[in-house]
C-alpha cells in the first residue's frame, strides 16, 4: 500500500470551529414558528393499573393547547419487541413512565398543566430484583408478552418475566468439568449506571398540513427512528421525516423513541404546530435509559497448566420495565461472556428480565463492560489458584487468528496478544508495586460491532466548482464521524479537506443507515463513502472517454484528474463543466452512490447461539493499571493506566486518542463510583450532584494509549471500530490490582471506598 496523504494523519476535527464558537446547533437550540412546549406527567408508582386520568385541570389553563394520554395515542414501539407504549396504556410499570403529556404556549404553562392532571392508580405488586422476578408466582409485568411483535433477537419465555433468553451451547461442559484439575465458581455483579450525556434528550415534532410528520432529534439512528415511528403508527415511511442536529453525547441513551415518543404524541393532537419536548436532568435519569446491572454466575474448569477447558455462565440482566435494546444487550454481551479465549466447552444462559425498575438499554460497550468485569476478574482468580502469572494465563488461552470462538466463528483479524504484552510490559506487571498499598492488574476484552440491521448507503456529490458534499445518515455524536468521512473522501478523490462538507442526517435526503452505534460508522459508513467515491471515479473515466474520444481502458483517475496513457489530463472541474456545457453558464454535478452491505450478519441459532459470522468485525483491547489503596479510607488512586487496542488501522490518531480517553474515563466511573441508587423502583440520586460522573480530579494523569494495527481485510484501509472498547477492561484491571495490593477479591462494582474499607476491616479482624 502506498503512502497516504490524509489517512493516518492527526487531522483536526471539521466540526470543532462551530463548537468552540457556540454555533453548533443541538435540538434544544432550535426555535420553530408557532412552536409549543411539551411537559410530561409521570408515574410515581412502580406498578399499577390506571383507573382514571382526569385531565380537566390542565385544560383550565389558558395557554394549554393539548393533552395526550395513552388512550388518545394507542401505539406501542420497540425495536426488538414492541412492548412500550408511547404513553402508559391502562397500566404503569415503572416510576417515571409517561402517563400524560401537555403542550402549551410556554414551558411553565405546560408544567402547570401536567401538574394539574389527576391520576387514580390501583397498585399492583411490584418486583424489582431480576432473580425474584423469574421465580414462580412472581407478579407478571407483561401479561401480553406472547402477543407482542418481536424480532428474532428477542426470545421471550411466555408467562414469565423473561423478556429474552439467550442460549449458547458448545461441546460438553459437564464432562469437561469432571476432567478438569480445578473447578472454580464465582458470582460477579454490577450496578445501574446512567449515560450522563451532557445534553438532555430533546425532540421537536410537527404534523404538517400535507400529512407529513417531521421530527427534529439527536437520535443516534435517524432512519431507525423513522422506521420505529412508521411501524408503530402503521403509516408509510415517506410520510415521516427525521431531521437531525448535532448530538450532545448519547453513549447509547439516544436511540429508540424517548423524547421523540412524547413529542410525536403531542404533535398529533395539535395539528400543524411543532411541539418541543426537552427533558429535565431528572427525567434523563428516570425516563430515558440506564446501563443494565447484571449478576453473572460463572463456573470454570481449568487444567493445572492454566488451560481453560470449560465455562458455564448464567447471566441475569435487569432490563427494567420495557425491552428497549435489552434483548440485544443480553444476547451480544452474553455470547461474548466467556471472554476472548479459546475454550472447547461453553454453556451460556443469558436472561433479559423485566422488573419494575426504569428501563435499561445499551451504554457504551453494550453489556461488555459488565461481562468483561466478570470474565477478567475470574481469569485472575484462576491465575491465583494455579499460582500462574496473570499475563501468562491469558496468553495461554487467548484467541488467535483462525481459532474458533464459542459461537463458532473463525477469527479473521485479532491483535489481542500484542495488546496484552504491550500493557503488561508498560506497567511492569511481573514486578511488585512500590509498597504494600500498591498493586497491579491487567484485563482484556472483546466486543462486536452493531450488525444485522441492514445496509449502509452514501451519496457523494462532486460539484462543478470542485467542492464535494458527502450525504450520509451517520450522526455526529461527538465521535468525529464528519472528520473521518471527510478524510476518506479527501484521500480517494484528492480534494482538500476544506472543500468537503459532510451533511447532517435528514431522512428525506440522506440515504439509509441503520444507526450510529456500536462503534460501527468508521467501518460501515467509511466503506460506503469510499465506494461512492470510487463510483465517481468510474463515472469520471466514462465521461472523459466520451469527451476526449479515447477508449476507457486508456484512461484512469489519478490525483484528482483523469489522465490518459498518452499524456492527456483533465481536471474534475474541467471535466464536469465541459461535459455538462458549463462554459455556457450551465452546470452540473457528478453523483457517486454506494451501498455497503457487509458480508457478515449471519445471525445466531436460537438454540445453540452459534453463527458463522454474526458481526462485521470484533474489537479487542487490553488495559493494565497500577493503583494505590488508602487503607484507612478504602480509596483507590490509579497511579498509572495503560491501554492498548487493536483498531485495524489508525485513520486519525487524534480522533482515536479522543475516543480512548473518553472511554477509559467512563470505565473508571463504572469501576469506582458510578451507581444509580434505586430503592423500590425509585431513583434516589437522579441528579448530576448525587450521581457522580468523573470530574477532572477523578482521573489518572499518567495514562498511555497504544494502538495495535492488525488490519481487517474488509475494513476501510483496514480499520475496525474503537469507540467502546476502552470502557470494558478497566473495572477488572482495577479489581485485579486491588487483589494484588490487598489480597481482597471484590466481585461487585462499583468498587467504592466504603466497600473496600469494610472489606479491609473485615480482613484485618481475621488476622491474629
Amino acid at each position: 500500500m502506498g503512502q497516504h496523504k490524509i489517512i493516518g494523519k492527526p487531522i483536526l476535527r471539521v466540526d470543532a470551529p462551530l463548537k468552540v464558537t457556540g454555533k453548533a446547533c443541538y435540538v434544544d437550540d432550535l426555535k420553530l414558528p408557532g412552536m409549543l412546549h411539551g411537559k410530561v406527567l409521570r408515574s410515581n408508582v412502580p406498578h399499577a393499573v390506571i383507573e382514571k386520568i382526569d385531565v380537566s385541570g390542565a385544560y383550565r389553563i389558558p395557554e394549554v393547547k393539548a393533552v395526550v394520554t395513552g388512550s388518545d395515542f394507542p401505539y406501542r414501539h420497540g425495536l426488538l419487541i414492541r412492548d412500550e407504549p408511547f404513553l402508559a396504556q391502562g397500566r404503569v410499570r415503572y416510576i417515571g413512565e409517561a402517563v400524560a403529556a401537555v403542550a402549551a404556549a410556554n414551558e411553565e404553562a405546560a408544567l402547570k398543566g401536567a401538574d394539574s392532571i389527576r391520576v387514580t392508580y390501583k397498585p399492583l405488586p411490584p418486583v424489582f430484583d431480576p432473580q425474584q422476578a423469574i421465580q414462580a408466582g412472581a407478579p407478571l409485568i407483561h401479561e401480553e408478552l406472547a402477543s407482542y411483535r418481536r424480532s428474532e433477537v428477542c426470545q421471550p419465555i411466555i408467562d414469565s418475566n423473561i423478556c429474552s433468553h439467550f442460549k449458547l451451547r458448545k461441546g460438553d461442559v459437564e464432562k469437561a468439568f469432571k476432567e478438569a484439575d480445578y473447578v472454580l465458581e464465582n458470582t460477579y455483579t454490577t450496578s445501574f449506571n446512567q449515560h450522563g450525556a451532557l445534553e438532555p434528550h430533546s425532540a421537536i415534532a410537527l404534523f404538517d398540513q400535507s400529512g407529513k410528520i417531521t421530527v427534529w432529534t439527536g437520535n443516534d439512528g435517524p432512519h431507525r427512528c423513522l422506521r420505529e415511528i412508521g411501524i408503530s403508527m402503521s403509516i408509510p415511511f415517506s410520510n415521516i421525516r427525521i431531521i437531525s442536529a448535532f448530538q450532545g453525547g448519547g453513549f447509547g441513551s439516544k436511540g429508540g423513541l424517548r423524547a421523540e415518543a412524547i413529542a410525536v404524541a403531542l404533535a398529533s393532537k395539535v395539528k400543524h404546530r411543532p411541539v418541543k419536548v426537552t427533558y429535565t436532568r431528572e427525567e434523563v435519569f428516570t425516563s430515558t435509559l440506564l446501563r443494565h446491572p447484571v449478576s453473572i454466575r460463572s463456573k470454570v474448569g481449568v487444567m493445572k497448566d492454566g488451560k481453560i477447558i470449560a465455562k458455564k455462565i448464567e447471566l441475569f440482566w435487569n432490563t427494567g420495565a420495557y425491552g428497549e435494546k435489552g434483548p440485544w444487550v443480553c444476547r451480544n454481551a452474553s455470547m461474548s461472556s466467556s471472554g476472548p479465549y479459546n475454550i472447547p466447552n461453553v454453556w451460556i444462559d443469558g436472561y433479559c428480565i423485566y422488573t419494575n425498575n426504569p428501563i435499561a438499554g445499551p451504554m457504551r460497550g453494550f453489556g461488555v463492560p459488565q461481562v468483561a468485569f466478570a470474565y477478567e476478574s475470574q481469569m485472575d482468580e484462576i491465575a491465583h489458584k494455579l499460582n500462574i502469572d496473570p499475563l501468562e494465563v491469558r496468553l495461554k488461552n487467548v484467541l488467535d487468528r483462525n481459532d474458533e470462538t464459542a459461537w463458532g466463528e473463525r477469527i479473521i483479524s485479532i491483535g489481542l496478544k500484542e495488546c496484552l504484552r504491550k500493557v503488561a510490559g508498560e506497567i511492569r506487571l511481573s514486578k511488585p508495586g512500590k509498597d504494600r498499598n500498591c498493586g497491579k492488574g491487567i484485563a482484556c476484552m472483546q466486543k462486536f460491532t452493531t450488525t444485522l440491521q441492514g445496509v449502509t448507503s452514501a451519496i457523494v456529490k462532486y460539484n462543478h466548482d470542485g467542492s464535494l458534499d458527502i450525504l450520509t445518515s451517520s450522526m455526529e455524536v461527538g465521535q468525529g464521524v464528519m472528520t473521518v468521512l471527510s478524510q476518506f473522501a479527501s484521500e480517494e478523490l484528492n480534494i482538500p479537506l476544506e472543500r468537503i462538507r459532510v451533511s447532517s442526517a435528514d431522512t428525506d435526503y440522506t440515504p439509509f443507515d441503520a444507526s450510529t452505534t456500536g462503534s460501527r460508522s468508521t467501518y460501515h459508513m467509511g466503506n460506503a463513502v469510499i465506494l461512492a467515491c470510487r463510483d465517481i471515479k468510474q463515472q469520471a473515466v466514462s465521461m472523459a472517454s466520451e469527451l476526449l474520444a479515447l477508449p476507457k481502458r486508456e484512461l484512469k483517475f489519478k490525483e484528482g484528474k483523469v489522465v490518459s496513457k498518452r499524456g492527456h489530463e483533465i481536471s474534475m472541474v474541467e471535466l464536469i463543466n465541459r461535459y455538462y456545457d458549463g462554459a455556457r453558464g450551465g452546470g452540473g454535478d457528478l453523483i457517486g452512490r454506494a451501498t455497503f452491505h457487509t458480508k457478515s450478519g449471519t445471525g445466531l441459532d436460537s438454540e445453540t447461539g452459534r453463527g458463522k459470522r454474526p458481526a462485521a468485525f470484533w474489537m479487542y483491547g487490553a488495559q493494565a493499571v497500577e493503583i494505590e489503596v488508602d487503607r484507612d479510607t478504602g480509596k483507590v488512586n490509579i497511579r498509572k493506566l495503560c491501554t492498548a487496542h487493536d483498531v485495524g488501522k489508525v485513520i486519525n490518531p487524534l480522533s482515536c486518542e479522543q475516543q480512548m480517553e473518553g472511554a477509559l474515563a467512563m470505565g473508571i466511573g463504572f469501576a469506582l463510583f458510578e451507581k444509580v441508587d434505586i430503592n423500590q423502583g425509585q431513583i434516589m440520586n437522579p441528579s448530576l450532584a448525587s450521581y457522580s460522573i468523573p470530574t477532572s480530579c477523578d482521573l489518572p494523569q499518567d495514562v498511555n494509549i497504544f494502538f495495535v494495527e492488525e488490519p481487517h481485510p474488509e475494513g476501510p484501509y483496514g480499520a475496525k471500530g474503537l469507540a467502546e472498547p476502552a470502557t470494558a477492561p478497566t473495572a477488572a484491571a482495577i479489581a485485579n490490582a486491588l487483589f494484588d495490593a490487598t489480597g481482597i477479591r471484590m466481585r461487585e462494582v462499583p468498587l467504592t471506598p466504603e466497600k473496600i474499607e469494610a472489606a479491609l476491616r473485615k480482613e484485618s479482624k481475621k488476622e491474629p
Binding site: P10, L12, R13, D15, A16, P17, L18, K19, V20, T21, G22, K23, A24, C25, Y26, D28, D29, K31, H195, G196, A197, L198, E199, P200, F246, Q247, G248, G249, F251, T280, R281, V477, G478, Q479, G480, L654, S655, E657, Q658, E661, G662, L664, A665, M666, S687, L688, A689, I693, P694, T695, S696, C697, L699, Q701, V703
Partner: protein, 162 residues
C-alpha cells in the same frame, strides 16, 4: 408576578428584555435573545455547561436571575471572538482535540478564560482543580487540560516568564 424591563449588557451590547423577575439569565440568553451557545445540561448548577462570565467571573447562568445581572458586563461564547478571529483558547481547543460532542465546550472555554484572566500561569494541578466544576462526558478532560496548558505556554513564550 409582574413583568419588568431588564437591561443587560451582553458582549458589549445593551439588550432590553421584558420578563418575569424569576427568569434565569440562562433562560433570557437562550429563549429571549437567541444566544443558544450557552447550554443547559442540568438546570441545577452542577454541570457547568451554562457557564458565562459576569464582570469577568464565571457564573452558572441557570442559577442566576437575569435581574441580578443588570449592572454587570456579561460575556457569552458568542462574544469571545474579536474581529472574527478566534481567541487563543478557542484555537487551542481545536488544535489539541479538546472538542468532541461540543456540548460542554462553550462553558468549558469561558471557565478556562476566567481562570487564565485571574491567574496567567496556573500549574497543571490548578487547572485540573479549576475544571472540576465543569463536567464533560466525552473527553476525560485530558485534551481540555492540554489546550489550556498550551495557551499558558504560548503566552509565556511571547511575554517571557511572569
Amino acid at each position: 408576578m409582574k413583568k419588568q424591563v431588564v437591561t443587560l449588557n451582553i458582549n458589549n451590547e445593551n439588550h432590553q428584555v421584558f420578563i418575569n423577575p424569576n427568569r434565569t439569565l440562562l433562560h433570557v440568553l437562550r429563549e429571549e435573545l437567541d444566544l443558544t451557545g450557552t447550554k443547559c445540561g442540568c438546570g441545577e448548577g452542577v454541570c457547568g455547561t451554562c457557564t458565562i462570565l459576569t464582570d469577568g467571573r464565571p457564573v452558572r447562568s441557570c442559577m442566576t436571575l437575569a435581574v441580578e445581572a443588570q449592572d454587570k458586563r456579561i460575556v457569552t461564547i458568542e462574544g469571545l471572538q474579536k474581529d472574527g478571529h478566534l481567541t487563543p483558547l478557542q484555537e487551542a481547543f481545536i488544535s489539541e482535540g479538546a472538542v468532541q460532542c461540543g456540548f460542554c465546550t462553550p462553558g468549558m472555554i469561558l471557565a478556562a478564560k476566567s481562570l487564565l484572566d485571574e491567574n496567567p500561569s496556573p500549574t497543571e494541578e490548578e487547572v485540573l482543580r479549576f475544571l472540576s466544576g465543569n463536567l464533560c462526558r466525552c473527553t476525560g478532560y485530558y485534551k481540555i487540560k492540554n489546550a489550556i496548558m498550551r495557551v499558558i505556554k504560548e503566552r509565556k513564550s511571547i511575554h517571557g516568564p511572569a
